[in-house]
């Protein structure tokens, strides 16, 4: 090297724009040689070089080949390289067979395996083969190109028995090796040989090539991209490469995610530069397999200053919202929407409104966000106006549930409907909106409109969603059209798989119960119990997988429902057995206590029933059914308790204004207290509501 440098400096007067070749401390311009090459006279060009630079045959040929390659004459380069017997040269470089140890592809590197030939000579030959591969690639002769490239790698593996030692390798040789390692999978991909490409990538990453960080990262990223998007599923890495319990990916997606995570970590460790596309690929991979919580962790690990903070908050909010951690998502969105950040970011506003629409106590905040989103839905965002209106409607509907006065409630409800209708005018094909309007109208007890939207929704989704069928059945049940509701439920059974049928079985049972066909209701409950059993067996170790949780049948609810059913049949013993099972699952539950109280009351044990109701309210202060039963029982037991009963019943109605049982009992209290007109009003309300009472609450579907 130093010889070359001094030669160059001694020839500093040579114009650097003129091409020249240097070796053995001598430099010469290439014009003469190039002229000979252009005439097709390789041998003369070769001897000119050999004389001018005192080279041997192979050296001269290698230089000539490189010269041709660099001149863009790849065909010429191939002709020059064909003149060297490269395979023989490789043979010469290999350590003698007797010394050869069984090759170990371990992570341990031993310095002892110094090759017996000069690395310089090896570098020369390998570069020649590499350029031959590149030339063939450029000519589209891909299989041959790959073969040459493979021979470079095979030769290196033979020369360096235990992987390339970091300290002992010559620069130029290493460069050629790194390039060949990177090139091989690219050639196989170009040739459409995907399983060979896959092996080439693994060989690149699992053997010791002493690649520098950037080169290794490039290969890892290219491999991850290949695994993610090629659409080819070839066998996963064999367990043979596993080293004491380390993780071995079992399929493309796992391998891609592993590689991308490793790349992210290399950035934190300062080994490579930040590459935004790595995070995007990882985002794609993890969100496609619903692992946004893992993605959130990755986003949190990104060093400050790399990502725009608002982008990061927003992405994190999306991740957390997708995993159902809406509180965390909302607090991130609040940061984004802070007046000093981006208060008008429509995406954050809409998402915040959506999250708020699911919680009565956040609904008011959601209303503000949705309104701001609507104001900002202009220009390229105009198409989001309908979404804004939809969110506004949902938030207003939710807010109506905690309204402090009847006036406020009915105002909010009608505003909600107005908003949703406005959204519908803009997005009349939006099936979700049809469903939401259906529910909203149903809760407003406008059953005809609700039925219409429920039908539209079932139609638009081709009957593929359970909630559509359930809404339809509930609306029909509220119209007291039980036989039709049962037909709908049966249709839903046909359209769903057995794992999803829990809510349908419960609905079926409730439909029977509403028609006082208690015995018929036992059968669906029996099916529910076997579903619970099957579920427990089949999910086994995946029990905590969050994405399955929402589909599961709640075993507690099944036992509790069955207890209620047996108690309606006055099968006290069976009911008690069911309650025992329910208690084993949730020890203290207002629902269990509620059923217990009812059973006691019906058996005439009023004091014990009273205690059960009170206990239930201690567990869950807003338990509507217990408030009603407690109020009714108190009124029945002692007329001095009428004011207390009235307070309890009014309170129940504040929480659930459409509860007909509460209205009925309130009517009784008014009557017993001598307020006949009030009593009449209450009875009327109760009777009206009875005509529109669904077998399950509408809100149970959402």
């Amino acid at each position: 090297m130093s010889g070359n440098e001094s030669a160059e400096s001694s020839q500093a007067d040579v114009d650097p724009s003129v091409r020249q070749v240097c070796a053995n401390g001598i430099c010469m311009q290439t014009d003469v040689v190039e002229a000979k090459l252009d005439e097709g006279n390789i041998q003369e060009a070769e001897s000119a070089l050999r004389e001018g630079l005192s080279l041997n045959f192979e050296e001269a040929r290698a230089l000539l080949g490189r010269l041709e390659y660099q001149r863009g004459n790849v065909e010429g380069a191939l002709r020059v390289f064909d003149g060297i017997d490269l395979q023989a040269a490789i043979q010469r470089m290999q350590p003698s067979v007797t010394e050869k140890q069984p090759s170990k592809k371990g992570r341990t590197r031993s310095v002892e395996s110094v090759p017996c030939v000069s690395q310089h000579a090896a570098g020369l030959v390998l570069e020649a083969i590499y350029l031959k591969a590149k030339s063939l690639q450029k000519l589209g002769r891909l299989t041959e190109a790959a073969r040459e490239c493979v021979s470079v790698l095979d030769a290196v593996e033979k020369i360096f028995d235990n992987g390339i030692p970091e300290v002992l390798v010559e620069n130029k040789l290493q460069e050629t090796v790194s390039r060949a390692v990177e090139l091989l999978p690219e050639i196989w991909k170009q040739a459409g040989c995907y399983s060979e490409a896959m092996s080439a990538y693994r060989r690149a990453l699992l053997s010791q090539w002493n690649l520098d960080n950037d080169c290794c990262a490039r290969i890892q990223k290219a491999f991850a991209v290949f695994l993610l998007y090629s659409g080819v599923e070839v066998c996963p890495p064999s367990l043979a490469v596993q080293i004491d319990g380390s993780y071995v990916p079992r399929n493309n997606l796992e391998e891609a995610i592993l590689l991308l995570m490793i790349l992210m970590r290399k950035v934190y460790l300062g080994k490579i530069k930040w590459d935004p596309s790595v995070l995007e690929h990882l985002t794609f991979a993890l969100s496609v397999c619903s692992q946004t919580s893992v993605l959130a962790k990755q986003l949190e690990e990104v060093m400050p200053g790399v990502l725009n903070r608002i982008d990061r908050w927003r992405s994190l909010a999306l991740c957390y919202s997708a995993t159902g951690q809406n509180k965390t998502a909302l607090s991130l969105l609040r940061k984004t929407l802070h007046q000093h950040e981006e208060p008008d970011d429509i995406l954050s506003l809409l998402l915040a409104a959506k999250i708020c629409s699911e919680d009565v106590f956040l609904a008011a905040e959601g209303v503000k966000c949705a309104q701001r989103a609507i104001t900002n839905a202009e220009g390229s965002n105009e198409h989001l106006k309908g979404v804004g209106l939809r969110m506004l409607g949902l938030c207003l509907g939710k807010q109506a549930k905690v309204a402090t006065s009847d006036f406020e409630r009915s105002h909010l409800q009608s505003e909600a409907l107005k908003s949703l209708d406005g959204a519908m005018a803009l997005e009349h094909e939006n099936s979700d909106l049809m469903f939401e309007l259906g529910v909203q109208y149903a809760e407003h007890r406008n059953l005809d409109a609700a039925l219409q939207y429920a039908r539209k929704y079932v139609d638009a989704t081709g009957g593929s969603t359970l909630r559509g069928w359930r809404l339809l059945a509930l609306v029909l049940s509220a119209q007291q059209r039980y036989p039709e509701a049962e037909v709908v439920t049966d249709a839903a059974f046909d359209e769903s798989t057995k794992w999803d049928q829990g809510p349908l079985l419960r609905l079926k049972a409730n439909l029977k119960i509403s028609q006082s066909r208690y015995i018929d209701a036992v059968e669906p409950y029996r099916n529910l119990l076997s579903l619970v059993q099957a579920q427990r067996k089949s999910y086994g170790p995946f029990r905590n997988a969050p994405q399955l949780e929402e589909d599961r049948v709640n075993e507690y609810e099944v036992w509790h429902g069955l207890a209620n059913l047996y108690s309606s049949l006055s099968h006290w013993k069976d009911a008690e057995t069911c309650l025992e099972k329910a208690r084993a699952l949730i020890e203290y539950s207002a629902d269990t206590l509620h059923t217990e109280g009812m059973m006691l009351e019906r058996q005439g044990e009023n004091d014990k029933a009273l205690a059960a109701y009170i206990n239930a309210l201690l567990v869950e202060p807003n338990h509507v059914q217990c408030k009603i039963l407690l109020g009714a029982l108190l009124a029945k037991m002692d007329s001095r308790m009428l004011p207390l009963a009235r307070a309890l019943l009014s309170d129940a109605l504040r929480i659930e204004p459409t509860n007909r049982v509460a209205w009925y009992h309130l009517g009784l209290v008014h009557r017993d207290d001598g307020r006949v007109a009030d009593a009449a009003d209450c009875f009327q309300a109760a009777s009206m509501l009875e005509e529109s009472d669904p077998v399950e609450r509408f809100s149970s579907i959402i």
Binding site: E254, S287, L318, L384, D459, L472
Partner: protein, 306 residues
């Protein structure tokens, strides 16, 4: 639709473009003899002649009829055109019957021929499913694919074990001693277990008494997009945008599609899908900005040293 059936069309597009993939993507089962495969493919082509206006004679005379059928763009164009006809897909549709029979032949190469048309069938089917048109022909083909997939999965879900970098892997080491292998790996279910009997029932759709809504005139172009559909769509689009062998027209169409899908996920406020579609959009943008340095090229200089 399941995940496997969706990587299949991706495999088709790649396989259709070149010869060498065949061996890797569709390993021939040992018990199938060459003459068996030949006869089945030949029969399939023969029956196709009565359905299509014209079938190139080169197909019938080919020695490798199945792979010719897979690659013949003219035949493919004719089939696609028929599938897109407004009255296609009914129970008596001959082409659907042909696709069904061809798939049932259990020839891997003929499977690919049918899978090639899955995107069109799915697209047409989904846009018509709520119009109360008879689609039993399409449904038969789709259900054939479904039951094949159900059988091949053998009651298992497709899952992904998300790696945890605090444990060593084949591609990296950690200083931490390997913990007991009962780790807190995140297990993702890509596609849940398929129900073998959930299939026949969907054929009954349209007979139920409630779905008799008479608004057929209203052409509903917006289709219902549950995650089961969206996820495979995303993977297919990922393949079109980021896979190898970029076809200019396909790439442009995929960019258009991902843009639409992104807007759709905004409308649905589907956060998971927003992340996935957003990342693909971002990747397209980054790809157009990148300077594409070829690191396998040697560094050129006017001074060539030995």
């Amino acid at each position: 639709m399941s995940d496997e059936t969706t990587t299949a069309p991706a495999a088709v597009t790649t396989a259709a473009g070149d010869q060498e993939t065949e061996s890797s993507t569709t390993p021939n089962k040992p018990h199938i003899t060459w003459s068996d495969s030949y006869t089945k493919a030949h029969d399939a082509i023969q029956s196709l002649t009565s359905i299509l206006p014209s079938v190139p004679p080169s197909l019938s005379s080919s020695e490798t009829p199945a792979s010719c059928l897979l690659r013949d763009s003219e035949t493919a164009a004719q089939i696609s055109k028929l599938l897109r006809q407004p009255d296609s897909g009914a129970g008596d549709d001959n082409l659907c019957r042909w696709l069904y029979d061809t798939f049932q032949s259990s020839e891997p190469e003929l499977h690919l021929v049918v899978l090639r048309f899955l995107p069109i069938i799915a697209g047409v089917y989904l846009s018509r499913v709520n119009l109360h048109k008879p689609l039993a022909g399409f449904e038969a083909v789709l259900l054939a694919l479904y039951s094949h997939e159900t059988a091949s999965r053998n009651g298992q879900s497709i899952t992904v074990n998300i790696p945890d970098l605090s444990h060593s892997s084949i591609y990296h080491e950690t200083n931490k001693a390997a913990k007991n292998s009962a780790t807190e790996l995140n297990l993702a279910v890509i596609s849940p277990t398929l129900e073998p009997y959930g299939t026949v029932r969907s054929m009954k759709r349209g007979q139920s008494s409630v779905a008799e809504n008479g608004e057929n005139g209203d052409l509903n172009r917006r289709i219902h997009l549950p995650w089961e559909l969206l996820q495979p769509m995303l993977r297919i689009l990922g393949h079109c945008l980021m896979g190898d062998k970029k076809d200019e027209k396909l790439y442009e169409a995929a960019i258009g599609a991902i843009g639409c899908l992104y807007e759709r996920t905004l409308h649905d406020l589907n956060t998971k899908a927003m992340l996935a579609t957003g990342s693909l959009l971002q990747l397209v943008k980054l790809a157009s900005e990148s300077d594409n340095v070829d690191y396998t090229e040697i560094t050129e200089s006017n001074t060539i040293t030995l």
